[in-house]
Symmetry: C2
């Protein structure tokens, strides 16, 4: 996952802390709750739920609950959510090209102020 896209150390964010990562997880197709939780290793169920609800409200994804036991819930990007990939990729592209410069500047500053 996230291959070819520099880490979150870059200066870009979409919405809250997790929105962009969730979109990346859903980029390849629908995912279940735990299928999202696993790659986002450090996220708690509460926060994941909150993020998903917010994104559902904003029309970025759909939530489909099947009335089964055990329960099954599937999240999928809407066209609107998918359209966010374009500007997100612009951000990733910037990071690929310029993140090293930013890190260098940061290091140089650290070196000059002991």
């Amino acid at each position: 996952m996230f291959t070819g896209c520099p880490p979150a150390a870059g200066p870009f964010r979409v919405g809250d802390k997790w929105t962009a990562k969730i979109i990346r997880c859903l980029e390849q197709g629908p995912r279940r709750f735990t299928e999202l939780q696993t790659p986002l290793r450090t996220i708690t169920p509460k926060v994941l739920t909150e993020s998903l609800r917010a994104m559902e409200r904003d029309g970025l994804l759909t939530r489909t609950a099947y009335d089964e036991i055990p329960p099954r819930v599937v999240y999928e990007l809407t066209d609107l959510g998918r359209s966010l990939l374009e500007p997100m990729n612009a951000g990733c592209e910037w990071s690929r090209r310029h993140l090293a410069e930013l890190m260098d500047a940061r290091d140089a500053w650290h070196a000059s102020t002991p």
Copy 2:
């Protein structure tokens, strides 16, 4: 200022809360401390200083202090800082095209859950 670029209600952020706005303020050329403070009406000197220092560390802008009385300090984007305008504009473009959909979805959700 900010003309043609939808408000911060959009889901995009660059770095912290103020970074993107500061870049927009500096887009047209160098600005002094108070020239930044004025259009960002609600920012306090402390927070503006912190943001500017962080951006200086990251090589996004330069700080030039003239030894005069009264003091004069000028902030100016570096090439690196200016390069951020490209992905920022991609985000603005997304907002221009899709923000209405997002707001509509949000309104529809509010209407369906009283």
